[in-house]
């Protein structure tokens, strides 16, 4: 709990940076969704891998150099890194994660729980399910917003 509080505090402190990261990642948006927006009408549309490849490349790298800048937040770096890991995971599995949250169980929840070092995965899954609408208010939600919500809920 205390750990998560520190984490949260860090998050708040780092929000300017993260907001920037979020902006950069806007075009990633809700996983599969962006793909479709970008690939509709394209010949190889539907190949999500190709989408992941082409659309995350630039933005993620720049986002990374941003977030590695969070070292300046004077906190434990590893926490920040962890946060990034969760964020990347959710950004790249947004659809599946949303589905698992709605259904109250699933592999992506287990993975997020492992990354956040949550011990009681079942409780965590139920918590997320109960707050589905809070976590995913609309289609414009981005991965970093989702992570911030989850951390808030879980703290």
């Amino acid at each position: 709990m205390k750990k998560l509080f520190v984490f949260l505090l860090l998050t708040v402190l780092c929000i300017p940076t993260l907001a920037q990261a979020g902006k950069l990642r806007d075009n990633v948006g809700c996983g599969l969704g962006t793909l479709l927006f970008e690939s509709v009408g394209k010949q190889d549309g539907g190949w999500l891998l190709q989408w992941i490849a082409s659309s995350t490349n630039g933005s993620f790298y720049s986002a990374f150099s941003m977030t590695t800048g969070t070292v300046g937040c004077k906190g434990s770096i590893s926490e920040v890194v962890k946060y990034e890991e969760v964020e990347i995971f959710i950004a790249e599995n947004m659809d599946d994660f949303a589905k698992d949250v709605a259904m109250g169980e699933g592999e992506t929840i287990n993975s997020v729980a492992a990354l956040l070092q949550v011990t009681d995965t079942n409780k965590f899954a139920t918590l997320l399910q109960e707050n589905f609408v809070v976590i995913f208010p609309n289609g414009d939600v981005t991965a970093d917003q989702v992570v911030v919500k989850i951390v808030e809920l879980n703290s």
């Binding site: 809700c30 949250v101 259904m103």
Partner: protein, 744 residues
Amino acid sequence: MYKHHINQLLYVPIILLFLLVVPSYSYYNIFDNFKYNQPQKTFNSIDVFKPVMQCDASQLNIKKFDLDKYVEYLVDLAGSEEVYKEREWDVLMLYKENTFIKKRSLVDDDKFFFAENGKKNPKAELEATIRAIFTDTKKLDNLSNDNYTESDIGNDNLQNNIDDNNSQNDIANNNLQNDIDDNNPQNDIANNNDSDSTYIQKSIADDNHPICRFPSRTRFIVEHLGVDESLLPEVSCASYDDYMEKLDPTSVTAVFPFLYLENPASIFGHVLIRINGKDDEPLLGYGVSYTAIEAENANIFMQFFGGFTGYYDGYFTVNKFYVSTFKYSSVEKRDIWEYDLNFTKEETRKIADHLWEMQNINIDYFFLDENCSYHLLLLLESGRPELRLANSLVIEIPSDTIRVIKDNNLIEDINFRPSHQKKVYAIASKLPAKAVKLAESVADNKTDITAITEGDYTDLEKVSMLDLTYEIYRYKIIDFDNDVNPYEYKDRTLYLLGERSKYRLKNDYSIDKGTRPDQGHSLIRLTASAGLYNESVYTELGFRLGFHSLEDIDIGFIPNSRVAFFEINLRYNITDNHFNVKDATFLSFGSYSPINSFRKGVSFKFDIGGEERSYSNYNNYFTPYVSGGAGVTFLLDKNIYLFIVSDSDLSFGSPYEYYVGLGLGGNVGISFTYDFIKLLIIGEYLIYPFNDPVASNGYAQRTSGTISLTGAITRNNSLMLSYKYAYEFGKTNSDLELQWSFFF
């Protein structure tokens, strides 16, 4: 209990004794080492060790001088002890030999070898490697100043691997590089230009140092030659350390996406391994594949011929595992079988080390043997060199890989990951047809979701219907179905899921797993048969290189699929004392997957080969042909399939006018499988309207009916009884055959 205590008490004197003896013993031990290390050799240990012991910063020159001697001593030792003959050295260097081919490495890339003739000479390569790992880092610094530019950082260097966000490069180049890693310092440096140039040079130098580049080989040399590690150059392998931290290798899983005949490229299946981190969350692991990326993008014919000649380069790639699951279960709709292997953490680490060594190393990709399966088996061997997994004779395919792994008792646990398609079926099968229709209608946004949530259903049924609605929606989105509007995707997904999240129920869907690939028959088939052709008795011998045909039992394969490859059947007619080639198949494939309300796939067949046909005014004639057709398959009942496929046949030979005949027609077939028994009934009709076979006297038709019953005796043995009645160009023939098949 008492015994136990006594045992523990016994340790006391032993420990005391040990304490007394060890100082002197270790002295001896060192001495012994010296003796062992320099049998029949002119080398004098004092030359090396004495100056080193005296060495301090001011005496670096002395150290260096003696280090050269030490290195030469190790080189000699490697030769005299025949360390280069060690199995592990072969594994690490991919040296292979057989009765026909002298020992050579499979690797076709100069970057992989230190010795010029390293590909063919294990001894020279080991010697060169020993010298290489002692390369002074200072030298490398200079080297990098001269030779490395920034672009090399991206291309040539070994960093940037395992990326949390699989960048386009890893797909484009399909190299191990570029994957793995999110916040790699060098990456930033590469972007930030010369802000910290000294740091760049330093880390390039170390990352390129043979110790960083080839950790497995370094470890091999240290272990087998008893190298004093303090004498090795001090290097900081930033990229390698980063790679290891990301990968956190803990255990290994072999992953087999099940065959998928709708995509010809997957006909031979695929296999990858997953390196699991300490979390042991499958999605957080990394999938390792070996692929020829150019081949994947090429057309099937180019794949085919390029694949045979080694035209394409193969590379290892590393991806976050969820990229693979997404690709296989959602996009390609393949089930995935996961076999957890019993490699220890230490062995897994060795595998990761070897993988690191293999990055960016190109090996000519051969379709049949040196393919993805083969190289993953080689990779697994690096974890436990005493294993001999990659021993295929001529051919290696993924399903066989799984059987090799099984035969070597490497499997600890088996997990199944259903394709998205199977999930949809599983949920739908629990619901009445009406509810399924409603769910689909809601998914298509033709009916409001309240029809479910406020309908006359139990909560559990509502949950099933909402789950089904979402899954159908997603299914259609991925398939770009016209019923759904992709521009609404995000909001609609969240809307559907939001409704679902209001129900705190979980639903258990029992998903039909089908049959496991490790339970299927092996690849190469030998057949022996006896039969009655019209009135004459015959015996027949057959050989097929791969893989599966319609009459074979489908366990471990896609039901009703055919991928036959290099098949020949030789018949000896006892009554007439006549010998002939009954048929020969170069390539034949057929996919008969049933359609349903979610899937409207086409069934198809394609064959190249030759067979003996009879013509009315002609002797039996061996006729080469190319044929193909398309159609549709229905699942009539569980395990009963009906397929109707058009057929066109292009035949060649003197029975036809101008030596070419075109036949048009079709096939109808029914297959029924019950456990280990399969019944197959096929009717064929072809008419040759344009190019009347010269000898047919106007009966330019071929009609036949075949019924066959196959029963599996063991996994690799089966018996088949078949009867065929044919009317060919004015002649009628019957053929009753009993056939025994053996797979290996």
